[in-house]
C-alpha cells in the first residue's frame, strides 16, 4: 500500500516510549494532564497571566509571575503551589471543575524533582500572531523594472510579483473589449452602440478615465454594486408560508434601496456599516438611516430566537470581519483564537435588539407598507452561555457582558443612548397624528354626507307614501304600490336613524382621538404648561363617550336586524328562526355593552388608550460600539475584508481566497502588501469605495487582455491558473447582468429605481432591473437561479457554472425571443438604408449585442445563415413545431427574411461573448 504519502498528517510522531525505570515521561504522563486541565487558558490559543504550559520549556519560562517550574524543586515551583492551592488561589479555578487529583499532583511534583526533563519541542505558534490579526501596514510601493507598465501602485505591487516569478503582463485589451468590461463592472449594463462609437472615436489621452468617471457617477453604479453587497450582506426579502412571514420582513426592500442610494452617494463603507448595525442609535428618528438596519432585520426568524441570533452573529462576523464565529457557538473555536464565552459575549451585543415595523407617511396599515427596523426592546435581557450550544442548557450562573474577541485587539466602548420620543414612541410622530386626525375628520365628512343622503331618501319616501296615501284617500286602489311605499319609508327612516348615530360616533371618534393626542402630548412634555391630569381625564372621558356612542350604534344595528329577522320569520323555516335567535342575542349583547358603557362613563378616570406601542427610551449602545470597533482603524480585518470583496468583483479572483474566512484555516493572501496597501488606501480616503473602484479599473492590470493568444508561453508554464494576475480573468456575467443586458440591449430595460420587491414570477415579462425582484428562500426568479444567482442563505462569492440548463434558459426563455424580435425590428430599420442590408444588419447586431464588430468570417457565417434560414421559413407547413412552450409577448415576423434576422439576433444573445466579460 502506498499510503505513506497519504498519512503525513499534522502533529509529527513524537517519541512516546517511557523513559527507562521510574522516571516520569513528560510527553506521555504530564502533558495529557496539562492539556486536559490547563490548556484552555494557558496555551497558544489563550495565555492567561502570560502563561503557557504547552511545552516543558514554556513551563520553565513561566508567565507574569515568573517561572512556573523550578527544575528539581517542586516545592518552590509556582505551578505546584497553584495546583495544590498553597498559593492561596487554586488552579484550575473552581468554575473549571474539580482540582487535580493527588496522583496527578504527585506525578507532576515527581517530574519536577527529577529535573523537569522533556524532549525539545517546537513552540506552537500563537494564533494571535496570524497575519490577518495584525493591523494592516501600508507597504512601500515596490520599484519594478517594467516601470512603463505601472500606472499606479496597484500595478507596481502586481508587477513586482510578476517579475519575481518571471511572468510578463498581457497586453492591453482592445478598446471595445475594455469598454464593455468596465461598463459591466461598474454599472452592470453594456455600452450602447453610440457609446461604443463615441469611445472608439475619442482619441484623447483620458478618454477611458472620462468613461470611468461618468459610469461611477451614474445611478446604475449603485444598482450594480448594491447587488454585490446584497450578496455579502445576505439580502433576503421575506419568506414564509402563504401570508405568514417566517424569515426576514415585509418591506425590507427599503434596506435594498438604502444600499443603492448609499453607494451612489459614495457614503463611506465605515458609515454604511455603522448604519446597518446601529442606524437606530446613530439617527433614531431618521427613517432614511433606519432602513439600513434591514441588515439585522433580515435575520428575523419566526420560530426560534436562538436561530435568529445565530444568523446575526455568524454573518456579522463573516461579512465584516472575515471570521467564522459560528464555530464557537458549541465550543471554543478549533482554529481561531475565539472562545465559546466570547461567542456569547458577541451575542450579548445583539441580545437586547428586536425588530419592529414603523409606520410610514401615507400608509397606516403595516401589511401594506412600513419601515422594518431594529431597536433595543429588552435592554436588560441576560445572555447565558449555552452549554455545547444547546439552548436547553443555558448556564444561568452568570449573564455574560457584551464583548468582542480579545485576539482582535481593543475593547468595546459602550455608551447608552437616550432616544427622542419619536423613536421610542413612533405613534407620536406628527405625520402619524395628522394622518389619523385627517382620517377621523374624513369619516365625519363621509358620515355627514351619508346622513344627508339618508334624510333625503327618507323625505322622498315620505313624500311618495303621502302621495299614494292621499291617492287612496281620493279613491285610488290600495294595492301593492302603497304597500311597497310603506316598506321603503320604514327602511329609509331606519337608515336615517342609523346614519344619524353613525355621524355622532364619527364625531365622538374624532373628539376621543383629539383628546388622547392632547393628553399624550402633555404627558410626554410636548405641550408646555398643559395640565396633564386634566387632559388625561378629558381623554378618558372622551374615549368612554366614544365607547358609549359605539354601544348605542350597535344597539340600533341589532334592533334593526331583529326587526328585519322578525319580518322575514317563517315559523316552518329553521334558518329564519335561527336568524331571529341570533339577532335577539345581539340585542341582548348590545344592551349589556350599553350598560357597561354608561357605567364606565359615570366614573371619572384618567385612563385612556395610548396612541401606540412604546419601546424603551434608552438604547444600550452596544451595537454602535460594535460598529465603531469594527471600523476603528486599529481593527485588522474590516478594511481588508472589504477591499478583498471589491477586488474579487473587478478581477474575477480575490486576493484572499476565502472571502469570509481570514482565519487560521485561510492561506495567506497571494499579495498581502497589495491587500494591505488597498485597505489603508480605503481608510485614508474616508472609506469611500468609488475611490477604490477608480483605482482598480484605471490600473494597467485591469486593462490587460484576457486572451492568451499572444502571450508568452512561459506565463502559462509558470502560472497556468493566473494566480498572479498576469492577464485579465474572463468572467461569466452574474445572473442579473445577463438578464438586464437582454432587456437593455433591446432598449427595453426600465431604469426606474427602487420600490417594493416585485414578484419573481413577473421577471420574464417585467423589464425592471433584476435586483428588484423578490429574492428569498423558495422565492427566486428561476432564470437568475440557473445562472448561479446568489444563494439566499449566504453568498460571499458567486459561482460560475456552465451547464446545459443555462443554454436552455437563454435559448428557450420567452424573454430572449421577445427581446430578439424587438432588437431585430429596430436594427432592420437602420439596415434598410444600406445598399447591403443583410451585411449591415449583421454589423449592427454584433455591435448592439456583443459590443464589438464582427470579423469577416463571422459576417460570412451570418450572411449564409440569413439566406438559408429565410428559405427554410418560406415553407412553414413543412416544418415541425414543439409541443407546449411559453407564449411570447412579441409575435415572430410573418416575413421569412425578417424572421431569419430575429433568429440571428437570438443566436447572438446566446453567444458565449454575450454572457462573458472578456
Amino acid at each position: 500500500m502506498n499510503r505513506v504519502l497519504v498519512l503525513v498528517v499534522a502533529g509529527a510522531l513524537l517519541p512516546r516510549i517511557a523513559v527507562a525505570g521510574d522516571a516520569v515521561d513528560f510527553v506521555a504522563q504530564i502533558k495529557p494532564i496539562l492539556s486536559a486541565r490547563c490548556y484552555a487558558c494557558h496555551s497558544a490559543l489563550r495565555q492567561q497571566s502570560g502563561l503557557r504550559l504547552d511545552t516543558a520549556a514554556m513551563l520553565i519560562i513561566g508567565g507574569d509571575s515568573g517561572a512556573a517550574v523550578e527544575p528539581g524543586k517542586s516545592a518552590d515551583s509556582l505551578v505546584v503551589q497553584y495546583i495544590t492551592g498553597e498559593a492561596g488561589v487554586r488552579m484550575p479555578p473552581e468554575d473549571e471543575g474539580a482540582p487535580l487529583s493527588d496522583a496527578q499532583i504527585a506525578i507532576i511534583k515527581k517530574w519536577i524533582d527529577e529535573g523537569a526533563r522533556a524532549p525539545d519541542e517546537p513552540t506552537p505558534p500563537d494564533p494571535r500572531d496570524h497575519w490577518a490579526y495584525q493591523p494592516p501596514v501600508r507597504a512601500d510601493v515596490p520599484t519594478v523594472e517594467n516601470a512603463a507598465w505601472v500606472r499606479h501602485p496597484v500595478d507596481a505591487f502586481l508587477a513586482a510579483d510578476h517579475e519575481s516569478r518571471g511572468l510578463a503582463p498581457a497586453r492591453a485589451a482592445d478598446k471595445a473589449v475594455l469598454l464593455r468590461r468596465v461598463y459591466f463592472d461598474l454599472v452592470g449594463l453594456p455600452p450602447t452602440r453610440d457609446e461604443l462609437a463615441a469611445f472608439l472615436a475619442d482619441e484623447s489621452p483620458d478618454a477611458y478615465e472620462k468613461v470611468v468617471d461618468r459610469l461611477l457617477a451614474s445611478p446604475q453604479y449603485g444598482e450594480r454594486w448594491a447587488r454585490h453587497w446584497m450578496d455579502v450582506w445576505r439580502y433576503s426579502d421575506w419568506s414564509g408560508y402563504k401570508e405568514e412571514i417566517r424569515d426576514s420582513a415585509r418591506h425590507i426592500w427599503r434596506w435594498r434601496d438604502w444600499i443603492v442610494e448609499s453607494l451612489n452617494a459614495d457614503k463611506g463603507y465605515d458609515r454604511m456599516l455603522e448604519e446597518m448595525l446601529a442606524g437606530d442609535e446613530i439617527a433614531p428618528i431618521d427613517p432614511n438611516t433606519l432602513r439600513a438596519t434591514g441588515f439585522l432585520v433580515r435575520n428575523w426568524h419566526k420560530f426560534n430566537r436562538n436561530t435568529w441570533l445565530e444568523g446575526t452573529i455568524e454573518h456579522t462576523a463573516k461579512a465584516f470581519l472575515g471570521v467564522t464565529m459560528n464555530c464557537c457557538r458549541c465550543h471554543d473555536h478549533k482554529y481561531d483564537p475565539i472562545s465559546q464565552s466570547e461567542y456569547f459575549q458577541f451575542r450579548a451585543i445583539f441580545e437586547p435588539h428586536d425588530v419592529r415595523t414603523d409606520r410610514v407617511p401615507g400608509e397606516a396599515d403595516p401589511l401594506k407598507d412600513g419601515l422594518p427596523r431594529v431597536c433595543d426592546m429588552k435592554p436588560e435581557a441576560p445572555t447565558f452561555l449555552l452549554e455545547r450550544g444547546n439552548e436547553l442548557r443555558p448556564d444561568k450562573s452568570q449573564s455574560l457582558p457584551p464583548g468582542v474577541p480579545k485576539a482582535f485587539g481593543s475593547e468595546l466602548k459602550i455608551a447608552p443612548i437616550e432616544l427622542p420620543i419619536a423613536a421610542y414612541y413612533p405613534a407620536m410622530q406628527e405625520f402619524a397624528i395628522q394622518e389619523d386626525l385627517a382620517k377621523a375628520a374624513l369619516q365625519i365628512t363621509n358620515a355627514e354626507a351619508a346622513l344627508t343622503k339618508a334624510q333625503a331618501d327618507a323625505e322622498a319616501a315620505q313624500k311618495k307614501h303621502a302621495d299614494l296615501t292621499s291617492g287612496v284617500a281620493n279613491g285610488a286602489e290600495d294595492g301593492p304600490a302603497r304597500e311597497s311605499a310603506v316598506k321603503t319609508l320604514d327602511a329609509a327612516v331606519v337608515a336615517a336613524e342609523l346614519a344619524s348615530k353613525q355621524l355622532e360616533t364619527a364625531r365622538g371618534a374624532h373628539a376621543s382621538l383629539t383628546a388622547r393626542i392632547a393628553a399624550e402630548k402633555a404627558k410626554f412634555g410636548l405641550s408646555l404648561g398643559a395640565d396633564v391630569e386634566k387632559l388625561a381625564s378629558a381623554a378618558g372621558k372622551a374615549q368612554r363617550q366614544l365607547t358609549l356612542l359605539q354601544a348605542q350604534e350597535m344597539q340600533i344595528v341589532a334592533t334593526q336586524e331583529l326587526s328585519r329577522a322578525n319580518t322575514a320569520l317563517k315559523t316552518e323555516d329553521a334558518v329564519t328562526r335561527d336568524a331571529v335567535t341570533a339577532a335577539e342575542k345581539k340585542v341582548a349583547d348590545a344592551a349589556t355593552a350599553l350598560a357597561a358603557a354608561h357605567a364606565a362613563l359615570a366614573v371619572p378616570t384618567g385612563e385612556y388608550q395610548p396612541l401606540g406601542v412604546e419601546s424603551p427610551r434608552t438604547s444600550t449602545g452596544r451595537r454602535l460600539a460594535l460598529a465603531r470597533w469594527i471600523t476603528d482603524r486599529k481593527n485588522p480585518l474590516a478594511a481588508r475584508v472589504a477591499v478583498n470583496h471589491i477586488w474579487l468583483r473587478h478581477f474575477g479572483s480575490p486576493l484572499v481566497d476565502n472571502t469570509f474566512d481570514f482565519g487560521l484555516r485561510s492561506p495567506q493572501s497571494r499579495n498581502q502588501p497589495l491587500l494591505d496597501w488597498l485597505a489603508i488606501e480605503l481608510m485614508d480616503h474616508g472609506w469611500q469605495m468609488k475611490h477604490i473602484h477608480r483605482l482598480l479599473v484605471t490600473s494597467s492590470a485591469y486593462r490587460m487582455k484576457s486572451a492568451t493568444s499572444d502571450t508568452l508561453a512561459g506565463n502559462i508554464e509558470i502560472d497556468r491558473d493566473n494566480k498572479f494576475l498576469w492577464r485579465m480573468n474572463p468572467r461569466r456575467m452574474e445572473a442579473e447582468a445577463v438578464r438586464d443586458a437582454l432587456f437593455y440591449t433591446a432598449g427595453n430595460l426600465d431604469l426606474t429605481r427602487g420600490g417594493p420587491d416585485l414578484a419573481c414570477d413577473l421577471a420574464p415579462k417585467t423589464p425592471r432591473r433584476s435586483l428588484y425582484f423578490r429574492h428569498a428562500y423558495e422565492k427566486q426568479a428561476k432564470f437568475l437561479e440557473l445562472f448561479d444567482g446568489a444563494s439566499v442563505n449566504e453568498c460571499y462569492r458567486r459561482s460560475e457554472s456552465v451547464v446545459p440548463q443555462q443554454a436552455l434558459a437563454l435559448a428557450n426563455n420567452d424573454t430572449s425571443r421577445d427581446q430578439s424580435r424587438v432588437v431585430a425590428r429596430k436594427l432592420s430599420e437602420l439596415a434598410s438604408k444600406d445598399s447591403e442590408p443583410d451585411q449591415a444588419f449583421v454589423q449592427l447586431a454584433f455591435e448592439q449585442i456583443l459590443g464589438r464588430k464582427p470579423s469577416a468570417a463571422e459576417v460570412g457565417e451570418c450572411g449564409t445563415f440569413l439566406l438559408s434560414q429565410a428559405e427554410l421559413l418560406q415553407k412553414p407547413d413543412q416544418l415541425t413545431t414543439f409541443a407546449g412552450g411559453a407564449k411570447t409577448s412579441v409575435e415572430a415576423s410573418s416575413d421569412p427574411v425578417q424572421r431569419a434576422r430575429e433568429d440571428l439576433t437570438l443566436v447572438l444573445f446566446n453567444h458565449n461573448d454575450f454572457v462573458t466579460i472578456r
Binding site: L7, V9, A10, K334, P804, T881, N912
Partner: protein, 494 residues
C-alpha cells in the same frame, strides 16, 4: 510571440487556430483535457494522450448509481453490529477490554484538521439503538431500520472498514474528491467517469445529480463538480418532476424544430470562431458543449421522468403508489431510467438540508435514523430489485455511501458524534461479489482494523469496474497524489 502547433500523428502540422475553428459537431466526445493538451498547455505532450472515451481495460459495468447520505450514517446502527456496545453501555472505553482502540496511531492518521487533538473523543459507550437480524442466505446482519435493504443483502458487498480523515462534514466533499477540504476543490468521482468514458447516449448528460446537494459549509456544489477537468464535466442537476424536470426545457410556442436546429448550428460556428481568439478559455469550450447537449436534452429528459410508462407493479415497488412517497423514491426510479438510457453516473443525494446534513444525529439518534431510513430503505431495495429483474444489475454498479460513521461514545444524552475512524458503505452489482462482508472494525466499531479502506478505494473500484485506470486519466501538470488514486478493492470483485 510563440506559435502553437497541433501535433497529430498522421496529418502533419495544422495551425491551431484553424484547427479549432474547423472543429464541427463531431467535437462532442472530445474532452477538455485533450483540448488543453493539444493547445500546448500540457507538459509532456509527446507521450500523453487524452481519454478517447474507450475504457483502458475490459469493463465490468457501464454505469454507476451513487447514493450518498449526507450528514453521516451510523455504521453501528446500519451494517456493522457491535454487541460489545450493549455489554459495556455506559462505561468509558478505557474501562473495557478494548481500550487499545484509542491507539494514537490511527487517531492521528485519521484526523487531519488545522488543529488536531481538539475534537474530543467521546468515551462513554452508547449502546446500539436498534436490533440487528441475520438476513438472506448469506446471513449478513443488517439493522432492523433497513428491512428492505436487508432483503437484498445477498446482492451487497458490505465494506465495514472505511476511514476518512476529516472529522467534520467537509468529509462530504472529501468522499467525492478524495482530498481533504483543507486542500481545496478537486474533480469529483462522477466527473472523472464523465471525463474518462465516452457517452452512451448523446441526448442526455452523462453525469446527473438529483436530490438536495451538499451545503456550502461542507463543499457545496463542488461535491459534484469537475474542477480542473472543466465545467462541461460537472454533474447536471435534474428535478424528478415529470411536468418540469428541467427548467426551460422547450422553446416558446411557434418556434419550429428545424428553425431552432439551424440557430444552434450557427451558434456553434460563431462560438468556435470566437474560440480561436480565446483558445485557453475552458468556459468557452464548456459553453459550446452545453448548447449541444441542451439541444438534445430538451427532447430526451422529459421522457425520463414519464413514470407512467412504468407498470403499476414497478411504481409500487418504489413506493410511488403512495402520494406521500419521498422525493428520494422518485430519484431512485429516475436513476434506473437514466442508466437504462446510457447515463454513466447518477449521483443521488439524500439528507441535503442546507446545513451539515439530515443524518447528522448528534442528538436523538434513534428518531433521526429511524425517520431517515424509512425514507430511503424501500426505494433503495426497489432499485436493486428493479435493476436485477431487468438484467441491468450486472452492468450497473450501485454504491451506497456516507461521509463518515458515528461515534461508539455517547454525545449528549442520546446522540453520536462524527466518526471518521471506521464506518461502512456497500456496493452492489457491476461485477462485485454478492452477499459478502469485507473488512472489519474493532469490537467497539471504533477503528477500521481489518482491510482498511480510504474513500478513494471506492473510487478506484468504481473506475476499475468501468474499465478505467485513474493513473491513465491523469492530466500532465495536474499530478495527483497516491491518496487520490486509491486502491482497487479486489477482494470484493466477482
Amino acid at each position: 510571440m510563440p506559435t502553437y502547433r497541433l501535433q497529430t500523428s498522421g496529418c502533419g502540422r495544422i495551425p491551431r487556430r484553424s484547427f479549432l475553428a474547423d472543429l464541427g459537431m463531431g467535437f462532442t466526445g472530445l474532452a477538455l483535457g485533450a483540448m488543453l493538451h493539444r493547445d500546448g498547455f500540457a507538459h509532456d505532450a509527446s507521450t500523453w494522450l487524452p481519454p478517447d472515451g474507450r475504457p483502458h481495460l475490459a469493463p465490468k459495468a457501464k454505469s454507476v448509481i451513487w447514493l450518498f447520505m449526507i450528514g453521516g450514517v451510523s455504521h453501528l446502527e446500519s451494517f456493522d453490529p457491535k454487541p460489545m456496545l450493549n455489554r459495556y453501555a455506559g462505561k468509558s472505553i478505557a474501562e473495557t477490554p478494548f481500550r487499545n482502540v484509542l491507539d494514537k496511531k490511527y487517531l492521528e492518521e485519521n484526523v487531519r484538521t488545522a488543529a488536531p487533538d481538539l475534537r474530543k473523543i467521546l468515551s462513554k459507550i452508547y449502546p446500539m439503538q436498534v436490533g440487528y437480524s441475520k438476513r438472506g442466505e448469506s446471513g449478513i446482519e443488517v439493522s432492523d431500520w433497513w428491512p428492505h435493504v436487508g432483503g437484498c443483502v445477498d446482492d451487497l458487498a458490505v465494506i465495514r472498514s472505511m476511514w476518512t480523515n476529516d472529522i467534520d462534514h467537509g468529509a462530504q466533499l472529501q468522499f467525492h474528491t478524495g482530498r481533504n477540504k483543507l486542500d481545496g476543490f478537486f474533480p469529483t468521482i462522477g466527473s472523472w467517469v464523465h471525463y474518462g468514458l465516452g457517452t452512451l447516449n448523446e441526448n442526455l448528460p452523462q453525469f446527473v445529480v438529483m436530490g438536495n446537494p451538499v451545503a456550502d459549509c461542507c463543499g457545496g456544489q463542488e461535491s459534484h463538480r469537475a474542477n480542473y477537468l472543466g465545467p462541461q464535466h460537472d454533474g447536471v442537476g435534474l428535478v424528478a418532476d415529470p411536468t418540469n424536470p428541467l427548467a426551460y426545457g422547450r422553446p416558446p410556442q411557434g418556434v419550429f424544430r428545424e428553425e431552432q436546429q439551424a440557430e444552434f448550428d450557427l451558434l456553434e460556428r460563431l462560438n468556435r470562431l470566437a474560440l480561436a481568439e480565446y483558445p485557453d478559455d475552458p468556459k468557452a469550450l464548456a459553453r459550446i458543449k452545453s448548447y449541444e447537449l441542451a439541444f438534445r436534452m430538451q427532447r430526451a429528459i422529459p421522457e425520463v421522468f414519464e413514470f407512467q410508462q412504468e407498470t403499476a407493479a414497478t411504481q409500487k415497488l418504489y413506493g410511488l403508489d403512495d402520494e406521500k412517497a419521498p422525493p428520494f423514491a422518485k430519484h431512485c426510479l429516475a436513476a434506473r431510467r437514466l442508466v437504462e438510457r446510457g447515463v454513466r453516473f447518477v449521483q443521488v443525494y439524500h439528507g441535503g438540508n442546507g446545513n451539515a446534513g439530515g443524518w447528522d444525529a448528534h442528538g436523538n439518534l434513534r428518531g433521526n435514523h429511524a425517520a431517515n431510513c424509512a425514507q430511503v430503505d424501500k426505494p433503495i431495495a426497489a432499485l436493486i430489485h428493479d435493476l436485477m429483474q431487468r438484467g441491468m444489475l450486472d452492468e450497473t454498479l450501485v454504491v451506497w455511501a456516507t461521509e463518515f460513521g458515528r461515534s461508539p461514545g455517547t454525545e449528549g444524552l442520546d446522540g453520536r458524534d462524527h466518526h471518521p475512524f471506521g464506518f461502512s458503505v456497500w456496493m452492489a452489482g457491476g461485477g462485485v461479489k454478492r452477499g459478502v462482508v469485507h473488512g472489519a472494525t474493532d469490537e467497539l466499531g471504533f477503528q477500521a482494523v481489518e482491510n482498511r479502506h480510504y474513500v478513494t478505494d471506492i473510487h478506484a473500484t468504481v473506475l476499475h469496474q468501468l474499465g478505467l485506470d485513474s493513473r491513465r486519466l491523469e492530466i500532465p501538470g495536474r499530478k495527483r497524489l497516491e491518496m487520490e488514486h486509491g486502491q482497487v478493492i479486489r477482494e470484493i470483485l466477482a
